[in-house]
């Protein structure tokens, strides 16, 4: 039910102009009726199922993680006619009250989005055993009513790392994260080992800056605030080390990364995370080599679809993998021609290898 009013603050800035145009005639029909009529044409009939979500410290419009989940909710609203409610968390302090607000709304299912909410999600699930919850990127501490949705993100990131190493002209690739948490470092691990795999196969040394999986040290912004000055400084520092492919794992850091690339005047690219960024945020497409997708939208939609249709809730963990399509590498789009067919063919092989368990993306 989030207000999506793009032109909202125009009112604040140009009230005078609006008042001038206020002489226009009122619409003939009752505006509510029209709205209702259009709504029925487009949306599925409303059903009595309330799906709710609480974000982590980032908005629903983060072009990434939280947005993926929210898209799933909206899809359920449009296609299934489910009711939805949501709350964005501004700080870690908001997690528990926001989750509680959902309980108060008697949500049929509540998604706690993000690793950072795991403790609060377990607490609220334990306190409300009759209600159902989903923790995304978290785990259940013995709560049968809390379903973990997790992803083997190292898998698609491994592919991304391989492609990045292959694409890079400097043979230096860089990555940085929002917070040093497993949900983030999984991406970075896969990226690192993927790049190393290319280096080993081709006998060309590649260096990955910004993350060292052995030492567990690397570059982190310290929060998931989109496109902050810090984010850009880190990107710039990675570029200064020679990196020409960036993999920023921290929600919407694409603005900051692309600014750093532009400013350095290099022919650099970045790799998207969570969503197919080139597609969902076309303004960044010229810089997006590919994206390591974490397809939460589908998972969220599927869960709502199943439950609202009368399916029984289970606390089994859902693990998104390359094999089940929960994760994957996006198309290269404009960059397709920049990668050799060999590389592309090899990516397919690697994917098969990962699926069969021959290749461990975290080594």
């Amino acid at each position: 039910m989030k207000l999506r009013n793009a032109s909202a603050a125009f009112a604040l800035m140009g009230v005078s102009a609006l008042v001038l145009s206020g002489c226009a005639a009122a619409p003939e029909a009752e505006p509510t009726e029209t709205a209702a009529a259009t709504a029925t044409e487009e949306a599925a009939p409303a059903i009595d199922y309330l799906a709710c979500a609480v974000s982590d410290e980032g908005s629903w419009n983060d072009k990434s993680f939280n947005e993926s989940v929210y898209d799933g909710l909206e899809k359920a609203e449009a296609d299934l006619g489910a009711q939805i409610a949501d709350a964005e968390s501004i700080s870690a302090e908001d997690f528990a009250p926001n989750l509680q607000a959902m309980v108060d709304q008697s949500c049929d299912i509540t998604f706690a989005v993000g690793f950072n909410l795991v403790a609060d999600a377990n607490a609220i699930a334990a306190a409300n055993p009759a209600m159902s919850f989903v923790t995304i990127d978290g785990w259940s501490e013995g709560n049968a009513n809390l379903k973990p949705v997790v992803y083997n993100m190292a898998e698609s990131s491994y592919l991304a790392g391989y492609a990045a190493a292959a694409y890079s002209t400097t043979k230096v690739v860089g990555t940085y994260g929002g917070l040093q948490i497993p949900a983030v470092t999984d991406f970075m691990d896969g990226f690192y080992y993927g790049a190393m795999a290319w280096a080993n196969e081709n006998g060309v040394p590649v260096s990955v800056v910004g993350w060292d999986p052995m030492a567990q040290t690397g570059q982190f912004i310290g929060d998931f605030v989109p496109n902050s000055g810090t984010s850009k400084s880190i990107a710039a520092a990675l570029i200064n080390e020679g990196a020409d492919v960036l993999f920023p794992v921290g929600g919407d850091q694409f603005g900051a990364s692309s600014e750093a690339i532009k400013e350095a005047g290099i022919d650099g690219v970045m790799i998207g995370v969570d969503k197919d960024v080139a597609l969902t945020s076309p303004e960044y497409a010229p810089y997006i080599l590919t994206s390591a997708e974490k397809r939460m939208t589908n998972a969220v939609y599927d869960i709502i679809a199943e439950l609202s249709a009368g399916g029984a809730f289970d606390g089994e963990a859902y693990v998104g993998t390359l094999a089940n399509g929960g994760t994957g590498l996006s198309p290269f789009y404009d960059f397709d021609s920049k990668l050799s067919d060999e590389v592309k063919a090899r990516l397919v092989e690697i994917e098969a290898g990962i699926n069969s368990g021959e290749i461990n993306p975290k080594s």
């Binding site: 909202a8 000055g229 850009k232 400084s233 600014e259």
Partner: protein, 417 residues
């Protein structure tokens, strides 16, 4: 009876003692117990076509040499103190540079130090602080405490991003940032001058208000329609012909966005106006002794109003430097305390635009230093590096500048019969 019951006549030995102690720490920890390995100081940027040779030195040797140099400076300061003279400010500046060099060398053992990159980024990051500090100086020099720098920066950042996005023209964005921030400053000015409100409190309150309004609009509007209202990108980088080709100095100073150039120009300009012109003399008089200024026909209220307002517009540009001058979009509370740092910088710089800018550079430097240190020397506690400028500020406030005099009438409302 005044509050000061000081019986000290002497300048004191604080400066040499502090300098000596830091020198000793440098000598021992960065030098004798330092890391081995060569450090290469890169003078050219890696992207430059003309690559000058790097300056190579052993990390621990550099620590030892720096420590000794710091001792020498401490000794010089001591010799001044014996003669009951203050330590000249250039000594502090050189001291700081030596310390920074030692730290860089220590961090980059067996690696290289991209001087141009670090210095250039430090300057860009310092610009909002510099411009915020100018707003602080302009307002404090006329006797109005300005805690609202944070709000001024945030306002500027917001307006620059939004107006540039909507109009597609950075100039409009800059103008909107400056004008809006000036309007905000007028509230501070009017409340302080006309309503005689507690200046620090008004400042704090304005910050709260601006954070509230920008957060609201950000969530309600900017994130919903980011492509149209919060996607300004950054202004083009301008290369000044010839000058930008100078090694090291060129890329750092002469290849920048307009916000940086503006900062480089405005600092000496404010210094000049403040200390050489009629306007400045009158402003300082208002800040020192408003009644005296009034008795010679200077309109105290009006002077305060305009200096605070114009200062605010400069801080607004500082805010623009955060968005269209660096990050490329507005983010929640993105001024992130720069306004408060600017306030510290004002005091650190003794209400002098030039010194304040140097102090601001220290903060800009520490930000990039943290990022870079994490890269060359992963695993070291970068939190401590980040702490350095704050600790330096405290040392300076309690030690070096503790006795430096703020404008006498600072924060005192001027009431006429």
């Amino acid at each position: 009876m005044t509050t000061s019951k000081e019986t000290e006549v002497k300048v004191g030995y604080k400066s040499p003692i502090v300098m000596g102690s830091i020198g000793l720490l440098t000598l021992v920890f960065l030098g004798l117990l330092g890391r081995d390995g060569m450090v290469a100081f890169e003078i050219s940027r890696r992207t430059d076509s003309l690559q000058l040779p790097t300056l190579d030195i052993d990390s621990s040797l550099l620590g030892v040499l720096s420590g000794l140099a710091m001792f020498a400076l401490a000794g010089f300061s001591f010799s001044k103190a014996i003669k009951n003279l203050k330590t000249p400010i250039w000594v502090s500046i050189v001291f700081g540079l030596v310390g920074v060099t030692a730290l860089l060398g220590w961090l980059a053992a067996e690696k290289s130090v991209p001087i141009a990159f670090i210095a250039g980024t430090a300057l860009v990051l310092a610009v909002p602080i510099i411009l915020g500090a100018m707003a602080g100086i302009m307002s404090e020099r006329v006797g109005i405490t300005n805690i609202a720098i944070e709000g001024q920066l945030l306002t500027g950042a917001f307006m620059a991003a939004v107006v540039s996005s909507i109009t597609g023209n950075f100039l409009f964005g800059i103008i909107a940032a400056m004008v809006t921030s000036a309007l905000l400053s007028m509230i501070l000015a009017v409340f302080s001058i006309k309503f005689l409100a507690q200046q620090i409190i008004v400042g704090v309150v304005l910050n709260v208000l601006v954070i509230g309004v920008t957060n609201f609009l950000y969530q309600q509007w900017l994130t919903e329609d980011a492509e149209n209202v919060n996607f300004p990108g950054t202004m083009d980088i301008i290369k000044i012909p010839v000058l930008s080709d100078i090694p090291l100095l060129g890329p750092v100073f002469f290849e920048n966005r307009i916000t940086v150039f503006f900062a480089i120009l405005i600092v000496p300009t404010i210094w000049f106006v403040l200390f050489k012109t009629r306007l400045g003399l009158r402003a300082r008089a208002v800040g020192e002794h408003p009644l005296a200024a009034d008795t010679v026909g200077i309109n105290v209220g009006r002077t305060r109003f305009w200096w605070v307002t114009i200062g605010g517009s400069i801080a607004g540009l500082g805010g623009a430097a955060l968005t269209i001058g660096n990050a490329g979009a507005f983010g929640r509370e993105m001024s992130g305390g720069f306004g408060f740092i600017a306030l510290a910088v004002v005091i650190l710089g003794r209400w002098n635009p030039i010194y304040a800018s140097l102090a601001a550079l220290l903060f800009g430097f520490s930000i990039i230093m943290r990022v870079w240190a994490n890269q060359v020397s992963p695993g070291i506690p970068t939190d401590f590096i980040t702490m350095v400028p704050y600790v330096v500020t405290i040392i300076a406030v309690v030690g070096f500048v503790g006795k430096s005099r703020p404008p006498k009438a600072l924060a005192v409302p001027y009431v006429k019969g």
